[in-house]
Structures are given as structure tokens and as C-alpha cells.
Amino acid sequence: MISITTDPIDVAAALKSIESEQAGAIDLFLGVVRDNTQERSVNRLEYEAYDRMAINEMEKIADQAHQRWPILRYTIIHRKGTLQIGEIAVLIGVATAHRADAFEACRYIIDTIKKTVPIWKKEVFMDGEEWVNAHP
């Protein structure tokens, strides 16, 4: 299940959504808003998504992960809008029979999301703001 939401991400609900009697391992990755970047103090982040295409790209990533690892259930939830320090920006959950697959698939999914999915993050500092990765 893949979603983009403006609501806070509910970890317990996400975990529940990937329960499986065949699962021996679940890896949950949370991307969280931290209070600094390159030694600059961050106030908040603003996420924006091209929703239709972002969902489409995340579905491709999930398909690729399913081809490479025996995934029982998975979830990808990305938040958008304004996020404060400590809030969860993205949650990836993967349930598999064995743990190596859960770790590897989860990491593949988040690594690839960061490369291809049209979602953009603006860091808002005390004295300015900046779209991440946008400048040469």
C-alpha cells in the first residue's frame, strides 16, 4: 500500500497493515525531520509532491522490490506539507519470512525513493530557506 498524506504518519496503523502470519521479520524505516543539516539549524521542512507521478514511481519501486525479494506485505507512506522537528516524513515497512530480505528490500525502497520520486523538500532556517538538492 502506497500513500501520500498531509496527516501525521501513524506507525502503529502502518505496522498493523503489514501483519502476516508468514512473516518472521518486519523492518520499519522512518525518515524523520532533524534539527540541523550541514551544521545549519533547521526550523521546519516543507514537502511538496507531484502526487500522481509520485505514487506511480513508488509503485514501480515496490514492483522492483517484489521481483528481487520475497516480500509478504509492505507499506510506503510519504507525508507532505509542513513538518516540524521530530515528525515522520516517510515510513517504509516490509514484512518477509526472513530478516535479510526485510532489511534489504526496505533499504532499496527508501534509497530509490530518494532518487526517482517527484517529492521536494524545502529546508526552512531562521534566516532563509532552500529547496534541497536543487542548486548546482
Binding site: M53, K114, K121, W131
Partner: protein, 82 residues
Amino acid sequence: MASSVSVLLFGITRDLTGQSKVVVPLSEHTRVIDLLSRLHQDYPALAGIKSLLVAVNGEYAEQDQLIGYNDEIALIPPVSGG
């Protein structure tokens, strides 16, 4: 017959142009690269972005892909999700 297509703008492209959608003239032979070229002419500030891809109907498009009147076009600046 002259026509045009709307281009969706996100993130830094929206900030630099001050718009979330711009309209670009379109011929039967307009390719992705032509559209990008035209946008750079109209909005020189776009040159300040590290890289700029184009999506057609929600898929990353090649430079030589033809653009149709009904396509949904979007500029994709460097992504930074996660």
C-alpha cells in the same frame, strides 16, 4: 494551427517562476527538448537549477519525445523526498 500546453511546476521551479502552471505554445513537432528550451527562454531563472527533467503523463520523458496537446506535462527539478 497554433496550440499550447500547460506545464506543471513544483518546488524550486514554482518558486523561481512565481507560478505553479505555465502555458507553452505547441506545434505538431514539439519535443521535450524544445519545450525545455522555450521555458528557459521565457524563464531565465530556471538556469539556476542543477538539473531539470520533464514528465509526460506522469512518466519521466526522453529529450526527443513528442508532446501532444492532451499530455500532462510537468517540470521535475532534482527530487528530495524521503
